[in-house]
């Protein structure tokens, strides 16, 4: 294992300290319990938004704390959901009296820990609503699985919900925007190589030199199938077909196209992939009216990418366009 770290046990704490040192204008970091909140503090009467989950997916979530997006982020250990305590502490730190929305990626651990946190926060008199993100079409959503995973679409949900909170929507309304965004969003990913969890010291899985994993999850969970490495145009087609099929995208639809890097893929490759995806959509008569390309929801040093499509209407477009000022996404401020 080759990593720019000290003791694997200290990675998250040290990274969070670094996030605090790097963005003092945007963020304040709390240690013990560990969470990251907006430097500006709670705004009375405005809904606050808290998200979190295992670390190793940076900039998710701390990189999206700031005006127009999250009020606080709660990073757990690498690939492990945080416990309820820091979630409750973050909730108390950002509540402005109008309630707190939890944006939770749909993994058993995240669901259970945020559930407990919500119970504890409600016991402290804070109103909490929760929205699950489950955009990953690689997993069948059936009684026979833990349900779809929340992956790159989380960024889109955090952005639109954040904008809704910023414009003064009620907790119910913000939650509705988040749910609607999630319902309009689908993602599928591919991995070329695995990430290495610091405390494990070994790659999470092994792929042959000519093999890729289609439908990878962001913890390196396997996906739909392993296929031989193909030209990226073919891989994009596979991912996009699954996404559009599930979303029921039709000619004339307006969409956000988001090509997300898994952390170890050069940006130049993400742009090559974006080119294909946007060409295919255009050929199908779909209008790509908003775009995002980059490493936003990563899986340590995994090489790979995911493709996310969100169906946009006027309101979601407006919320996507709204000013945002965070470490990883900034626009209009």
């Amino acid at each position: 294992m080759k990593k720019l770290i000290n003791d694997p046990k200290d990675v998250v704490e040290e990274a969070v300290a670094g996030i605090g040192a790097a963005h003092p204008d945007l963020l304040v970091v709390s240690h013990d319990p560990t969470f990251v909140r907006r430097a500006s503090g709670p705004v009375a009467g405005k809904v606050a938004i808290v998200s979190g989950g295992g670390s190793g997916h940076e900039p998710l979530h701390a990189g999206f704390v700031g005006h127009g997006m999250l009020s606080a982020a709660v990073p757990g250990p690498v690939f492990t959901s945080p416990t309820p305590d820091p979630i409750v502490a973050a909730t108390q730190a950002v509540d402005g009296g109008a309630g707190v929305l939890y944006i939770v990626k749909n993994y058993t651990g995240d669901v259970l820990n945020f559930e407990t946190a919500a119970d504890l926060a409600e016991a402290e008199g804070i109103t909490v609503a929760s929205v699950l993100v489950d955009d990953d079409v690689a997993v069948k959503d059936s009684l026979y699985t833990a349900g779809r995973r929340g992956v790159a679409g989380t960024v889109v949900v955090e952005k639109t919900a954040g904008a809704a909170a910023e414009r003064g929507d009620s907790l119910e309304q913000v939650a509705e925007v988040a749910r609607r965004t999630n319902a309009a969003t689908r993602t599928m990913g591919v991995a070329l190589t695995a990430g290495v969890v610091p405390h494990a010291g070994e790659p999470s899985f092994t792929l042959a030199d000519d093999e890729v994993e289609i439908g990878i999850g962001i913890h390196g969970e396997p996906g739909r199938e392993r296929v031989p490495l193909e030209p990226v145009d073919r891989i994009v087609d596979r991912l996009l077909d699954a996404v559009l099929d599930d979303l029921g995208t039709a000619s004339g639809d307006r969409v956000l196209l988001f090509v997300n890097g898994m952390g170890g893929t050069p940006l130049v490759e993400l742009y090559v992939a974006f080119r294909r995806a946007s060409e295919v959509l255009t050929e199908k008569g779909v209008q790509v009216t908003r775009t995002l390309v980059g490493n936003y929801v990563t899986s340590l040093e995994m090489q790979g990418m995911s493709i996310t499509v969100t169906t946009l209407d006027d309101e979601l477009t407006e919320l996507w366009d709204a000013p945002v000022e965070t470490a990883a996404l900034r626009r209009g401020r």
Partner: protein, 223 residues
Amino acid sequence: MTLDSTWARRFVERAADTVSENRAALIELDREIGDGDHGENLERGFSAVRAKLASQPDDATPGALLKMVATTLISTVGGASGPLLGTAFLKGAGAIGDATEIDSAAVAAFVAAARDGAVLRGKAEVGDKTMIDAWTPASDAAKAAADAGGDPTSVLRAAADAAADGAASTEPLVARKGRASYLGERAVGHRDPGAQSSALILAAAADAADDVAAAAATTSGEA
């Protein structure tokens, strides 16, 4: 014969030891069909539990000690296993209440309540390839042993053995809950890490009872 807080303390120590010894093996199981953190998660939790043990009041009841385990696991483990095992210990401790001496029926009630707690939170059934595949047979075996008049030690041993079999029984299964459910058929042939760790923890409980019984025998022999 009954079990008291000496057993509960010994159980906690043994559980922390076994989790620590099996850290790498549990990581490996989880790496195969999950995300490779289960051993790390539990070790983080049980070392926190061990650290708190020393500061528990001398007169802490078994129920109080096991509740400390529960809240510590909930607040340190994270992931899926933290809330699930934590709730199991919480409900198990609740079943024991503030009794200072725990008889066979209470031991069986502890295991049953623990199982029910984990089911309540995780909604898994037997055969879903989760820790429930260890806890459910353990609970059944504990009840059977207690009903048959076994002492607390033998009730715990029955539970532990059944849990070990239950953990082994997860190997041929397709998972329907947790991270392994994403794998479909590819999970077949791998043991569920949470079932394995639950079996180890129940073995620690039985071993602790053995320790206590052995110590009692020595003491009475010497007396």
